[in-house]
Amino acid sequence: MTYDLSKKAKKIRELILKMTTVASSGHPTSSLSAVELMTNLFFAGFFNEKNDEIIFSKGHSAPLLYALYAVLGKIDEKKLETLRQFGSVLEGHPTPRFPYVKVATGSLGQGLSIGLGMALAKRLLNSKGKVFVLLGDSEISEGQVWEAVQLASYYKTDNLIAIVDINRLGQRGQTMLGWDVLSYQKRFESFSWQTFLVDGHNLEEIDKTYREVLLSIEKKPKVILAKTIKGKGVSFLEDKDGWHGKALSKDELEKALEELEQNQGEKIFEKDSVEKKLFPDQSQKSEEIKNLLRKLNHYF
């Protein structure tokens, strides 16, 4: 079975923009920067809903979370229009009132610690499941993030995977490190994490990165440092200051949706189980996979 991931990404972008405009508030641009990272995780077979956990530590990208579950068919698309309204389970920042979320997030810097607790618990349960935590780059300034980083390496929680959406911009401007992903890498590596750098909007690269992450048998926590663009997909939002936590007006939304339509690409992927994805048919082994296996060989 094949599927077009870019079509899904486009659909998710549309939903993010529409629901925040209906709500007249929310964080569309912080959601748009992580669309490919999450689309690939959810729809390419890397995330096993039964065993794995996902925490949106950057809780303000709730519109992305809700859009993902709408495209998964878990919630009615129509329901997205109730975002942020009184009585709706689609709160401004996720809470477990939304049934696919276990912990409330939105106070930044806490998600990685919660994920670490889950990862330690899974180990105690002899569960093979993994814990994915989506972090924003701004929240890396929180001291608690580094408390979690150092403890995760002490306990060698190799089932903990952090994904940092490095979109450069915080609430009022550039973060301390901006797009200096190499500095992030140095910092995580100095705490004995295994790091992976990726272009956070390139679906093929992301696919390859998740495969590498899941194939790694290093007894280390993992972090994917993804260089992304805040507001990605809409020219007048991309990498622009002053668009944090702001919904588009109806006119702006129309313009944005038109743009998405025009820039539609095509990225066909094979949909497989995680195992098949990680260990594809030997006879069809591509150069890329050969290289990957060679690279991983010394861990085996």
């Binding site: 806490q110 919660i114 618990a121 349960l125 979690a148």
Partner: protein, 318 residues
Amino acid sequence: MNKNQEKFKSTREAYGEALVEIGKRNEKVVVLDAETSNSTYAQNFKEIFPNRFFEMFIAEQNMVSVALGFDKMGFIPFLSTFSAFLTRAFDQIRMAQYSNTNLKIAGSHCGVSIGPDGPSQMGLEDLAMMRSILESVVFYPSDYYSTKKLVEIMAKNKGIFYLRLTREKTPMIYDEKSNFQIGGSVVHRLDFTQKFKKKALLITAGITLFEALKAQKDLVDKEIELVVVDSYCVKPLDEKTVLPLVKEIKNLVVVEDHYPYGGLGEAASQLIVKNKIPLENFSHLCVSKIPMSGKPEDLLAYMGIDRKMITKKVLSFF
């Protein structure tokens, strides 16, 4: 009062022993501590169940969120450190309440009664902090037996629980059969003093309970009955017991080893105002000065939360 009265043990020791007991009965119990396990006695659990003990090192914020992660995977996390240092994890505790969590938090070394280590080590805001969590339950036991029972209750019931623990050894005044519950209290009343016309009511918890019980005896000579309530459950307060006593006695003293704000004194005042009970006398003895190092008994005296000040205050009512 019973035969064990002469024996002393700290409530933190009781915590450590209770953890081992609940750990034996329930394999879902995990224990986290921020590098203070030899002080909180969480190390007792570590020695028996090393796989279920997690050293969090000195990083309290991370500890609280890690505990939340354990909870969401079906474990029952108990976490401990000094009550003073838990305050830096307030945001994490506050956030946990929005995740329908099952968190058991123990804060040891509360109050000025820790003595020589000085103010930086004294938990004096912890009752306020933990009471402010909407659906929390807050325990502040005075003795070994009540602590052990309350830890069992924490393990069996879901929600955010706080257990305030004392450094000093205190008399073991209850026994294994004593009954403790969420929203409970114990009334200490001397039978032969009931005939006295002058009566005062004293609500307290923790280490100051023993100061109150000493004052109770001191006041017998003056023909004053001091009814002492061990309000080991600070939240929710035992309304059923406290309200009729306040209505009957009308002279009230609240004593606590905590700052004036947000602790037992305010909890009791709120209850009385809410129920429109007229009082003749009210006094709140608490830590109302910046503390310093010293012997525990010197500090209790300096703050005016000791036997002497309680006796003096009650006498002033008549």
